[in-house]
Symmetry: C2
Subunit: 437 residues, 2 copies
């Protein structure tokens, strides 16, 4: 078969890694794809930063020239972020080129528009690398589980956050210290907001929820809470209770609508996903026919991300001659068959809770607290009451509750915080058992 010529936009970490994988594994890839894949032109903003010696293809700073090159059939977008990535991708599509991208923000925020343009032009936009790095999770959900009604997705989908949570537990160190170490090691950015405040995970969850449930991309509906408020004390208390705290993306298809949320969660220590440590990612999918399946691997890094980019490229290359209506739909479901199930506000969601509060070490305080919870219909599953530290008259009280709607919990917490025997705010972390939905 004829070789396929491709263009690359962006020669940063992932761009360089993609060139490397295409070069190193060229023979194995063409033994699979049945033809050679040839990089014809790569564009980068800063030519002086290019790390490839003797690349064997043209390198320029003219991204538009890549997108306009009539020889190029597939454009790989590895610039990241919003602009100029969006304009370049739309321009490539308008030129009838297929696109492969690793850009989660682009897909989460502009995917609906991009996929519509692609469908009109009869081209493919592939984005396996946008979620969970090298784990083929888009393919697994979109094709591997095509027989299923998918009920929920629970994922560790930000490696930086998982690294920080793992280190806080292993070292008993506070958030700020671990974050500084992660920055020194290159696991966290200088400005870590996107990772530690859950924005990056929310981008990925948006994409996963769409392909799982057949709903449009709705990034602005994701409830997002970061890990910067998690203390080592909470991690320790959770462990005492048999739980581990992880920063999870959760998407669930319930009768009332779709849950879409990123926040810290207590999960049982014995669950497999609780044992996914360091920068590794994992996605647990619950579906009606297959039950629970889990997908684990590196969620970031040059070569793992390149692995997903090149897998998409092989898929695209194989489908070049397929009639568009027989290709796998961008969002797993046919574009005219998406569902308008609403995304639920966080107040409507039911979970169990971990609560921590500082109570006066005096009779009556605890009965006031349990009274408030009881009146709100919130049952308590476990209580952990600690001895007061030396010279302290207050004690930390930890509670695990049964499932309750978030509005009711908000109201109860407000009342507890107003008690004279309770100091400061009540810490609240949601709990998931991860049993079959």
């Amino acid at each position: 078969m004829q070789p396929v010529k491709i263009g690359i936009l962006g020669l940063g970490t992932v761009g360089t890694g993609t060139c490397e994988v295409l070069h190193t594994n060229a023979r194995e890839i063409s033994r699979r794809a049945g033809r050679d894949i040839i990089i014809s032109h790569a564009a980068t903003r800063t030519l002086s930063n290019v790390k490839l010696s003797n690349p064997g293809f043209k390198i320029s700073d003219n991204a538009q020239a890549v997108v306009d090159d009539p020889e190029i059939s597939v454009v790989i977008e590895l610039i990241g972020g919003d602009q100029p990535a969006l304009d370049l991708v739309l321009s490539a599509i308008a030129n009838g080129k297929h696109v492969v991208t690793a850009n989660k923000a682009l897909i989460a925020l502009h995917g609906n528009e991009i996929f519509q343009a692609a469908q009109q032009q009869g081209v493919m936009v592939a984005f396996e690398a946008a979620v969970a790095g090298g784990i083929p999770i888009i393919k697994a959900i979109r094709e591997g589980l095509a027989a299923n009604h998918i009920k929920s997705i629970v994922g560790i989908i930000n490696g930086t956050g998982n690294y920080i949570m793992t280190q806080m537990r292993d070292l008993g160190a506070p958030f700020k210290e671990v974050l500084a170490d992660a920055q020194a090691l290159g696991y966290a950015e200088a400005d870590p907001t996107f990772d530690v405040e859950g924005v990056d995970a929310a981008h990925k969850l948006t994409i996963l929820a769409s392909i799982a449930f057949g709903i449009p991309l709705q990034f602005d509906r994701v409830y997002t809470e970061g890990i910067s408020a998690i203390t080592r004390e909470d991690i320790g208390f959770a462990e005492e209770l048999g739980y581990r705290i992880k920063h999870l993306g959760i998407a669930r298809h319930s009768a009332d609508g779709i849950e879409l949320r990123v926040h810290p969660v207590l999960i049982p220590q014995r669950s497999l996903i609780a044992n996914v440590n360091g920068v590794m990612n994992a996605v647990l999918v619950d579906a009606d026919a297959v039950g629970q399946t889990m997908y684990y691997g590196a969620g970031a890094g040059a070569l793992p991300t390149a692995s997903a980019v090149v897998a998409d490229l092989v898929d695209v290359v194989r489908s070049l001659t397929a009639d568009p209506e027989n290709r796998v739909p961008h969002l797993a479901f046919q574009a005219n068959a998406l569902s308008d199930l609403p995304v639920m506000p966080i107040e409507q969601i039911e979970t169990a809770y971990y609560l921590r509060m500082l109570a006066d070490d005096k009779p009556g305080v605890m009965s006031q607290v349990t009274g408030i919870l009881g009146t709100a219909g919130i049952s308590i599953e476990a209580v952990l009451q600690k001895e007061p530290a030396a010279n302290q008259t207050q004690i930390p009280v930890i509670m695990l509750t049964h499932t309750v709607k978030e509005t009711q919990m908000n109201k109860a917490i407000e009342e507890i915080e107003a008690l004279p025997g309770i100091s400061g705010n009540v810490t609240r972390i949601r709990v998931e058992t991860l049993d079959h939905d």
Copy 2:
């Protein structure tokens, strides 16, 4: 788009489950596939056993009629075993029909012949359900990791065996007792040979190795050892040393050739796959670009297997109009690009070892044993020496060795067994660290 008509061979557990999934999730499946999938005729040997009421399609005992029906585009083979499955599948292919099968024995033993016939006819034979039930592992390796040079595959690919190993550890019970319980619960067959002696796992490993390394199917080259000789004592000693015993399928691409082996293995307790319990399956893949990825889920059962069957069906239906050269090749690599790398005999393979022997509680015996190992160039990593039981003059000695070639270990064990201070045979279990290859 036009609905696609399919035929089903076999209405046992998986056949019935497949009909159920196609019925229950008909709308979600057609929202994904872009067309309806309609069962037109199902054949079963014993009509009186059919469990479907009001199926809405023809049920007969005439499998050949399904295979010959000109209305049917895809034949789903769920009979299992060798014949008549092989003849029916070849007959369906000869009639120009695509085939989906869950039959691991059929693919492992006759896949080369079947795929050659399929290629000549320009039809697809899909077999996701043949390995690890509902886990989309064939798709992950064949497509999701297409960019990679795959280095090794380590899998818990027999649920019955994993259930037995898990129960032996959790209950401290002996093999025979746990097997009897598993039979009573329906987790093990009346004749459990295929599961506990590793034949079933060897079928699956044969398939995984082919699609990972691009080699022909070579079931007869798999080294296979079962779990019936594993004692609860070995499980306990392994745990003391920080390891867990699992029955694994291992395929590794080394410089000298391909390793293909199914046997009990000690793996570190902290590894994720060591924590895959009960009837669950998991496959750990190590590949050069992506690193380690793992895929976890139900390896058997009516609905999980049906999930894989129907996912294949959706793939096949999508590719009906694709030109055959652009389809994913049956064994991941183009048929004319398979490698002739040899499968290594077990004697050539290097692993670390767990050894257990019964030694006289007398000075000198241990130094003779370590002398034999030392002369053979086998370093010892850990020794566990137990107190003799009351009225016993012999003690169990457990050793972990470093990596050594199996021939050398065989020779050393022979010499150790010949020592007058050692009673009976030396128990030997291979050890894998599961670090990146």
